[in-house]
């Protein structure tokens, strides 16, 4: 599957009638659906750039749902997973949720439940992707700072005054001011509040130094 602009619901179930019926239902609800008969088949065509979510049968021969979930997690996949299972197996559902499953539904599943879960999952995927993209942007901006500017940034987000920063760095207030202006420019922010919000998403600052 090559990346499509619209979100795709990937259905993986070894039992053909269920696979077909689920696909049909999702299709009728307006989703783009891609169905696979096994985890292996899905992995063979999987593109990490794919948008959407995964509707996965838990019990399958050879590679089962939980194992596929682990493999995808290792590759850093952003696809949320909705598990479908024939048995209300609590230990397995707990394990699935711990591994970050989006939802865990018991067959036979009502259409509204499934569609709601899929919508949530797709939204989650979108958010994830958005976060992911923003984070990359912020990191890119951070990468343009000089070591000295980076130091100044950390003191600024820590809430220090220019004078204090100059003392800490053993320089004059004027120099700190220049660095600070460069940081604000390079990070494309207009206020300290904005800068703090950005850097917090990258795990910088927040703690008082």
């Amino acid at each position: 599957m090559i990346a499509v602009p619209k979100s795709t619901v990937f259905v993986v179930d070894d039992y053909a009638p269920v696979r077909r019926a689920t696909s049909r239902l999702l299709h009728a609800a307006g989703f783009v659906v891609a169905a696979f008969a096994s985890a292996e088949e899905f992995l063979a065509q999987y593109n990490p750039q794919s948008l959407g979510c995964l509707v996965l049968d838990l019990a399958m021969p050879t590679l089962n749902g939980l194992e596929l979930q682990r493999i995808l997690a290792k590759t850093g996949s952003l696809l949320p997973i909705i598990f479908l299972t024939g048995e209300g197996d609590i230990p397995k559902s707990v394990q699935a949720m711990k591994q970050g499953a989006s939802d865990f539904l018991t067959k036979p599943v009502n259409d509204e439940d499934l569609l709601a879960a899929v919508r949530v999952a797709i939204e989650k995927n979108r958010a994830l992707r958005r976060d992911h993209a923003e984070l990359s942007e912020i990191r890119a901006r951070l990468a343009t700072l000089t070591p000295r500017e980076r130091e100044v940034l950390e003191y600024v987000v820590a809430g220090k005054l220019n004078k204090q920063i100059a003392d800490e760095l053993g320089t004059v207030e004027q120099t700190v001011k220049v660095h600070r202006a460069h940081v604000m420019q390079k990070m494309k922010v207009h206020s300290v509040a904005e800068l703090v919000a950005l850097t917090q998403r990258c795990g910088i600052g927040g703690s008082s130094r």
Binding site: T22, L25, E87
Partner: protein
């Protein structure tokens, strides 16, 4: 008294005594002519002795002539009796020779009375006296020999030839002693008789002593006959002894039969009469005087068993095979009794069955015990099935939720398609088709489950073992998937049908497969391989099913116990599975065994006999549904 008188008289007396003894014997046993022939010979020999003594003592020519003429009568009798005796007693001598001797001797006798004075002499001129041993004076004739006397010689010669021929025959036959004594005695006597013509011709100067030649023969005959009588007496004693034994045996048999509650019977097929002991009559509720024929027996049979018993009986009558049947007899008072019958058919010369002998035994108690055991086995089998169903509940639920899931999603998809306003009829049709087939699949699972959990009567169906294996695979497919066990089925084609209960056989296979899976829980998932095979035994009499795992195998001490009830190696097991399996297979007249594989793991296998009757009946209890075999493993 002169010794000649004494010796000749004693000779005659001895012969008469023997004659009297054997006459009595003959009187008591008229069908054995040998004794009469011997008796006549002995009387004739005594007569010859008497005539000879008279001849030795006579003084007148006329008297001598008369005596010579009359002596031919006993000689005729002797000759005829000897020949007849040889033919009858020794079963030897040529027929034409015998008849020649009879004829010639009769001619001699007739001529003897026609010619004057007799056949030996033309005329006796005078009597001469000869002084013999001990100063005895005996009379001898002097006269012209009659040329017709040659006929008498000829008959004597024929008799000699006849005797030699008969003796050789008997000797060759291997009856040497008898040939030697009777035949040899006759040959000797016949040779001694040759002194008569020599005396007549004046060549020998001795008195006639023909009586000794004949009495010698008689003695030899009597020796053999008495030997026979002794042997007969011995045989009679033996017979008596064996008869006593037989009676004893019969009594013992009857005692044993009575103690064993055995009813013995004999069916005269030709006359259609059945003789049956009192015990047997009591067994079948027959009155002591009632006449029993085949139809009566047929009516005693329980209507449900009648056909099969008659079939077995017919087969025995046709092929001569041992008759063995177990059936219910309905007694006149309505009581039902289980009987085991056993018997064999005897055939006449034309290959037709003439009679049948056998015995019948009351096996009601055994049958009741068997039925009770079968009942218990059924309960236990059911219990074990319920337990298994509990263990498999996840798998069964999965088997049900899959089709239900497909149905629900399909139906809701159809609702959405319809609500959207531009419904695609082809798609809707496809959806409905799939809903129907999935619904059938779910029903099939429920039907199978119901059958599985039903505590029904044990069925006896004609079934294909491969179908049973496939049904089991459908039942536990998802369980196997969850346990990550790979199953390979090598099912032989064209296997003969077997008779049995499909659910119970499924139960056995399922148990073996579940055990095999349990044995492999410690293995890597790639090693959890299971091989299920079906095939036919080398002798073609049984179908075999084997389940091979790659697990840890069975230790030697466990191997002895695994089929015991309440023996288990599993923490949660009841220890009934294998013992129930074995009792099921035993009830199917098969065997369930286990063996360790040469590399790793163990193989459990069982055999079930091939169905005997070629009639293939359909399987009402397990109709084939396409969805049931879909997917597989």
């Amino acid at each position: 008294m002169s010794w000649i008188t004494i010796v000749w008289s004693m000779n005659a007396a001895a012969c008469l005594t023997l004659a009297a003894i054997y006459l009595v014997v003959w009187c008591k046993q008229r069908d054995d002519w040998v004794h009469l022939l011997f008796s006549c010979s002995a009387v004739a020999a005594a007569a010859v002795a008497g005539f000879e003594l008279a001849m030795l003592r006579t003084d007148t020519v006329g008297q001598y002539e008369a005596l010579v003429r009359w002596i031919h009568v006993p000689v005729w009798v002797l000759t005829v009796c000897f020949v007849a005796f040889v033919r009858r007693y020794l079963h030897a001598g040529r027929t034409w020779l015998a008849w020649s001797i009879y004829g010639l001797r009769t001619v001699v006798l007739i001529l003897n009375f026609v010619l004057t004075p007799n056949i030996n002499f033309l005329a006796i001129t005078k009597i001469r006296h000869l002084s013999w041993w001990g100063g005895e004076i005996v009379s001898l004739p002097i006269g012209m020999p009659n040329p017709w006397g040659m006929l008498s010689l000829a008959s004597l010669l024929l008799l000699l030839i006849f005797c030699i021929d008969a003796t050789v025959t008997v000797w060759r036959r291997g009856d040497r002693r008898r040939g030697l004594i009777v035949g040899g005695g006759m040959i000797f006597g016949t040779i001694v008789a040759w002194h008569v013509p020599l005396v007549i011709w004046g060549v020998l100067n001795v008195p006639f002593f023909l009586c000794f030649a004949y009495s010698g023969i008689v003695l030899a005959m009597s020796y053999e006959l008495s030997n026979d009588m002794l042997q007969t007496a011995h045989l009679a004693r033996q017979l008596e002894a064996s008869e006593t034994d037989l009676r004893e045996m019969k009594q013992r048999m009857e005692l044993a039969a009575s103690a064993a509650e055995l009813g013995m019977w004999m069916w005269d097929i030709v006359r259609d009469e059945i003789w049956i002991t009192d015990k047997g009559r009591a067994l079948f509720g027959l009155a002591p005087s009632e006449k029993v024929d085949f139809n009566r027996f047929r009516n005693i049979l329980h209507p449900e068993d009648r056909e099969s018993v008659l079939q077995i009986l017919e087969n025995s009558l046709r092929t001569g095979a041992e008759y063995r049947a177990e059936y219910r007899a309905v007694l006149p008072n309505g009581q039902i009794r289980w009987i085991a019958g056993q018997g064999h058919v005897e055939f006449g010369g034309d290959g037709q069955p003439v009679r049948m002998r056998g015995c019948s035994l009351d096996i009601t108690r055994r049958k009741q015990a068997e039925l009770e055991a079968a009942h218990q086995r059924k309960d236990l089998a059911h219990l074990s099935r319920v337990t298994t169903a509990g263990e498999l509940s996840g798998s069964i639920a999965h088997e049900l939720t899959q089709p239900l899931s497909a149905i629900l999603s399909n139906a809701q998809a159809a609702q959405r398609v319809l609500a959207s306003g531009d419904a695609d009829i082809a798609e809707l049709r496809q959806i409905l088709n799939e809903i129907v087939s999935e619904d059938k699949r779910a029903s099939e699972v429920i039907r199978r489950l119901r059958l599985w959990l039903k505590k029904g009567e044990v069925q006896q169906h004609s079934l294909r073992i491969n179908k049973v294996v496939r049904d089991v695979m459908n039942l536990i497919r998802s369980d196997l998937i969850n346990q990550k066990v790979t199953v390979e089925c090598k099912l032989a084609r064209n296997l003969p049908m077997v008779t049995g209960d499909p659910v119970q056989l499924q139960q056995v296979i399922l148990n073996l497969v579940l055990n095999a899976c349990d044995a492999m829980t410690g293995c890597n998932t790639s090693e959890r391989r299971l091989l299920i095979r079906t095939g036919i035994k080398n002798d073609g009499g049984s179908v075999i099913v084997s389940v091979t795992d790659q697990g840890t195998g069975i230790t030697e001490e466990k191997m002895e116990n695994i089929f015991e009830p309440f023996f288990t190696t599993k923490p949660k097991g009841m220890g009934l599975g294998l013992s129930v399996c074995r009792s099921i297979i035993t009830a199917h007249r098969g065997k369930l065994c286990a063996t360790n594989n040469t590399d790793r793991g163990a193989t459990f296998y069982f055999s079930v006999p091939v169905e005997v009757s070629p009639v293939a009946t359909p399987l009402p209890a397990t109709p084939k549904v396409a969805a049931a075999t879909e997917g597989g493993l």
